[in-house]
């Protein structure tokens, strides 16, 4: 289910991209992690980079947040090139997948550490700290050591750190990692609030249900952007229905279905997938045609996983 872009978000979305990525390649030794990325991330939205492990989304994230030097291509964040590291860092807030909290310090002390790194002090620090802690419902936990907080609360403190210096773009790497369902919901409420306040939120994820909540998403695989669009528009590309088959000999079954019914059959591993606007009417005909060699047949509306499979021809494996 897609979240409709709210009126406020539409208002603050402009033509100027928050992040512009052009012709980016990246290698780790012999391994090519990014193979020509071109991406425009709109301002004032939640933008998700969706892909399985090894798809290159975390590499792209590290390049955007200036943790790694750019090898080839160009990236601009909020108008500044990543070559100007300090300028970009001042404009972005980052929440890494790995926790960055010092567990031996309290929530307040962790925030103060972050403030010192971003040039906030005195009255401004106190004011901003109260604001972000209030927004994330952490006021009553501010004097607790971070090692005593639950995973969800720690994540909220991470968000508070990322927001403290009023970033124009908030980058989150796999933000739902380690969170229970309630904490995930809380996280998304907080992210929506940030977008309503004019912050562009960019996150990486390998979870379809998380990517489905984004306003726009880019599907990545093998170091390339496979497709970009709203979750609804990407699903719409596959049509209204999808039939999935498990058969004894998928290669033969695919050829047979193509020749008899003129259907476009895609084989993914041992599974056959057929996109069609009227899937139900095909079920009995396919079952009759394949007979006992058919193990199972499933009909459904395409989800983001189906989009990924249709675009890449690969199963989504983490």
């Amino acid at each position: 289910m897609t979240n409709p872009v709210s009126q406020t978000q539409q208002m603050i979305t402009t033509n100027a991209p928050a992040i512009s990525v052009e012709g980016v390649f990246h290698r780790y030794g012999q391994h090519e992690a990014l193979r020509g990325i071109d991406l425009q991330i709109p301002t004032g939205q939640i933008f998700a980079l969706l892909g399985p492990n090894g798809s290159g989304k975390t590499t792209l994230f590290r390049l955007i947040c200036t943790l790694m030097p750019l090898q080839c291509g160009s990236i601009r964040v909020a108008g500044a090139s990543v070559a100007q590291r300090l300028a970009v860092r001042q404009r972005i807030g980052i929440v890494f997948q790995a926790p960055s909290l010092d567990k031996k310090l309290t929530v307040d002390e962790n925030i103060a550490c972050q403030a010192a790194l971003y040039g906030l002090s005195g009255a401004e620090l106190r004011s901003r700290r109260d604001e972000v802690l209030g927004m994330l419902n952490l006021i009553d936990r501010r004097h607790e050591l971070c090692e005593r907080l639950s995973g969800g609360l720690k994540r909220r403190v991470e968000l508070a750190k990322g927001l403290l210096h009023r970033p124009q773009v908030l980058l989150l790497d796999e933000p739902s990692t380690g969170l229970d369902p309630t904490a995930r919901l809380d996280l998304w409420v907080a992210l929506r609030q940030m977008v309503a306040d004019g912050i562009t939120v960019v996150l990486t994820t390998h979870l379809f249900e998380e990517a489905d909540k984004a306003d726009t998403l880019a599907i990545m695989d093998c170091g390339q952007v496979v497709s970009v669009g709203t979750p609804a528009s990407l699903r719409l590309e596959l049509g209204e229905g999808l039939i999935m088959l498990q058969t004894e000999q998928p290669e033969e079954a695919a050829l047979s279905l193509q020749s008899h019914f003129d259907l476009q059959v895609q084989q993914v591993g041992q599974q056959l997938r057929i996109q069609t606007p009227q899937p139900v009417q095909w079920v009995s005909r396919i079952a009759d045609h394949l007979g006992d060699s058919l193990h199972s047949i499933t009909v459904g509306r395409p989800g983001l996983e189906d989009v990924f499979v249709a675009k890449t021809g690969n199963p989504f494996c983490n």
Partner: protein, 303 residues
């Protein structure tokens, strides 16, 4: 979070969030200016706070050198005769102070590896302050802890009257501070490229402990004046002369004990050379650590 952009909020006026509709408008966005010194001071304070919140670290830091000093000093006193007639408790005292500083500096800088592994360092490295505040913060914080520990130990020693109370203890405090900075710099050189504490321990046992043992802490530098040296002792003398820590320990010895007691056979060189070597050692380790920390490397990010 409407307060973020509230016109009544002085903080918002100082660095306004881009307004709806023109987040990247021609009006320049003015962030707060991050100060490297502020960040370094915060990182130093963090070292301090973390140290005192780990009680086992405080206890070990105080008790271990004390035990070393008492056990070695008492156990070896019968089998050791210093050239100047000191007993081993007295002879071993400068070495124990150096050991306290060395150990504490090691534990302070080894935390860089933990900071990396736990993700804290990753967040620091993407802050708009560069990397030098990390070095300054770790070195200032770590050496302050090492110095205070050494001073605490020295106070205990003064109570036992192993060393006489004299004005020469004041320059000793300065020397201890310089040594602490040098050791933290050395610790950063070792720790920064490492991705595991096991690797650090290996270097510590292979490099740092021998450096301490071969600095005149446990036995004096073989003296040429006494008798012709064999090749082994000649080699040992060369190594100990090449070890910068030897000069610091030598100066500590001369500051702890009056000139009549601290015989020239125990001391390697004069004070000017000792102080100079100590300060050059401090500067070289600090600058080398800074040079090694520039640029990004694989250990910077948490997988």
């Amino acid at each position: 979070m409407s307060a973020l952009t509230s016109p009544t909020d002085p903080a918002s006026q100082a660095s306004p969030v881009p307004k709806a509709g023109d987040p990247l408008s021609p009006q320049p966005w003015e962030p707060a200016v991050a100060s490297g010194w502020g960040a370094a001071w915060m990182l130093a304070r963090r070292e301090w706070t973390r140290f005192f919140r780990q009680r086992n670290r405080v206890t070990a830091a105080v008790l271990q050198p004390l035990l070393f000093w008492l056990l070695f000093g008492t156990g070896l006193s019968g089998s050791f005769v210093a050239p100047d007639g000191q007993d081993f408790l007295q002879f071993f005292l400068p070495g124990t102070i150096a050991l306290i500083v060395l150990f504490t500096a090691i534990f302070a800088t080894i935390s860089v590896i933990e900071d990396r592994r736990e993700g804290f360092m990753q967040a620091v490295l993407v802050a708009p302050v560069g990397r030098w505040p990390v070095l300054v913060g770790k070195v200032v914080g770590g050496s302050a802890i090492a110095w205070v520990q050494a001073v605490f130990f020295l106070s205990l020693v003064l109570v036992t009257q192993t060393v006489p109370l004299s004005w020469s203890l004041l320059p000793l405090l300065a020397l201890m501070a310089a040594l602490a900075v040098a050791m933290c710099g050395l610790g950063m050189i070792v720790a920064w490229p490492m991705d595991s504490t096991q690797g650090f321990h290996a270097i510590m046992m292979l490099g740092l402990m021998p450096m301490w043992l071969l600095s005149g802490t446990f036995f004096p530098v073989p003296a040429v004046a006494d008798q012709p040296l064999g090749w082994g002792q000649t080699l040992l003398r060369w190594i100990m002369q090449a070890n910068p820590l030897t000069y610091t320990v030598s100066e500590m010895r001369s500051l702890l004990y009056p000139p009549a007691v601290a015989d020239s056979a125990v001391l390697l060189t004069g004070s000017v050379v000792n102080w100079s070597v100590t300060f050059v050692f401090m500067l070289v380790t600090f600058l080398l650590a800074g040079w090694l920390m520039r640029g990004s490397r694989k250990v910077d990010w948490v997988a």
